[in-house]
Symmetry: C2
Subunit: 375 residues, 2 copies
Amino acid sequence: MPSFDFDLHATDGAARTGVLKTPRGDIRTPAFMPVGTAATVKALYPEQVKQAGADIILGNTYHLMLRPGAERVKRLGGLHHFMRWDGPILTDSGGFQVWSLSDLRDMTEEGVAFKSHLDGSKHMLTPERSIEIQADLLGADISMQLDECTPYPCERDAAASSMQLSRRWGQRSKEAFGERSSQALFGIVQGSTYEDLRRESAEGLIEIGFDGYAIGGLAVGEGFEMMCQVLDVTTPHLPHERPRYLMGVGKPIDLVEAVARGVDMFDCVLPTRSGRHGQAWTDWGPVNVKNARFAEDTRPMDDTLECPASRDYSRAYLHHLIRAGEYLGSMLLSWHNIAYFENLTARMRAAIAAGEFEAFRAQFHARMDEGPDAI
Amino acid sequence: MPSFDFDLHATDGAARTGVLKTPRGDIRTPAFMPVGTAATVKALYPEQVKQAGADIILGNTYHLMLRPGAERVKRLGGLHHFMRWDGPILTDSGGFQVWSLSDLRDMTEEGVAFKSHLDGSKHMLTPERSIEIQADLLGADISMQLDECTPYPCERDAAASSMQLSRRWGQRSKEAFGERSSQALFGIVQGSTYEDLRRESAEGLIEIGFDGYAIGGLAVGEGFEMMCQVLDVTTPHLPHERPRYLMGVGKPIDLVEAVARGVDMFDCVLPTRSGRHGQAWTDWGPVNVKNARFAEDTRPMDDTLECPASRDYSRAYLHHLIRAGEYLGSMLLSWHNIAYFENLTARMRAAIAAGEFEAFRAQFHARMDEGPDAI
């Protein structure tokens, strides 16, 4: 019996909308999870994240285990208390950042030994240790199994053996996690771009039994078309009645097309990273706020959003702040972008519930085609 | 007849408390003005500045005339509208930053020609142009006369001729400003460390007639003792019934001792700059939040303050954020520091009104002597 009821309210084609129930509150799906890597969604106050419409945020196990340290977070009352976020938190397993950030030392069946990118200290991440950190020390509401993320492109043999390893790690993660009613564990489908491997991975994970199923190994440079192709051959093999989470994705168009293929949850650093770099996201694409055309544009960035950053500050002021390198520029654009991504998922939920997702999708593509000069 | 009624409610020794009335709201004195150099108090939302207790903020003419440009600010509705601050704004004349930041080119009786530190563009600042920028283009509630700020130390002859120039520029500033009922103009006393020059400067400015009198040429490296000595020989020559503003000062102890000598207004970048560098101000001095002793300190920075940054976040979390180089660390500490400085002036106002300023001052010195390890 899975933890966390998932009530699907409506479907429209492959697109779905519903609510994932958790002891810390409901997660409305499709859901976008802002990334709080180091126990903070960069440049936002926790209240702003919530007001922007986020039901759940993501924490990075790799970063938190190194600084401030998982045992320290536990002693300080757990991640929710530490960072003043009382809604649900999903943590990743740490595996992805071990591969992308650390000075990787040694991978075995047992797990992965690595050196911290911060101070060179040595650490070991196994499926069991990852679960201990996520579920017991940080206190995540949703933990992720440890997996190996293959690069793109990846030869078939390597993709197959890596997927098998991830499946075995999924089994060990499940055993370490045990049965919990107030916390959930998600498995991760791997298999690179190979349809049969993705299917085999999904079936293997379903046999183990998870509370939700993530699609891993994307957002690693494969591009939009390949992402869509992999989703086309993966989501049909995932259980209808459990949430599906596309890890590390993505741009607004990626979200729209993944929802069209039956994905329920997303996370990405894009909105906050773009914000710090002076970009504001819109349906028409990312807008470079530094652009001279905004220097005396007294309109707000997007007054259809409830967010003060989007509605109450002029583009001219945002332009000035970004040009001047002021904190407030990064703060406001990060806030706007999170509000935009949350609003995008809210509009998709409404469109699916109304049976109008295809119309929404067509309008979204039309705006994309117009491009950001249209705003 | 000066603009802006100044109601002195109480005095205690030389210390004074009152209210400077402006069309955009009351300024309770002693007042600390957060510095919004580039049309933003760094890393704070305007609402936070107000909630922290600030009645007035300062804008820097030099920065704003170069970016986004004074005429542009005017076209965008003036500085208040541009930056979403509806309370009073005081602007400096731009002179100080011309000396400290620009590639200074030529100073004459007429004014000062300089090159922008941003792009090398050439500009001219005269007393008349400074008033035009401040009062007409930015729309400052309180404008400052253009003056020359002498370095420390400064030979007597140089200090005397510089002070005379500043007085002549004060006269021209007053003529350019004219008579206005909804905006005010302050003169600036110069004269370096020479008692007779400070007195002569004050008397010359009073003869011209300003709405308030600033004490310039301090906070340039002269040190605490010298600052107190200059105040001792300057404030007695300033009109009792007009506000006195000590420019660019300073640390909390500087504020306390300047208030003890009859100063009413202050501005300083210290709280926000310290905050960005991981320091939290307290009565016991500046605390380095990076210090290992805070790593598991679950107490808030100062729960006697109403400010969420001071009251709702643990020292352990602030420590983590600063160590991790996170925006939120700078945001929270800047906010706390502004709240602390505003609260310090609020406590001084209350102590003066109660006739207990000497007790407050003694307690403040005792805490300083204990040092920041006491918190």
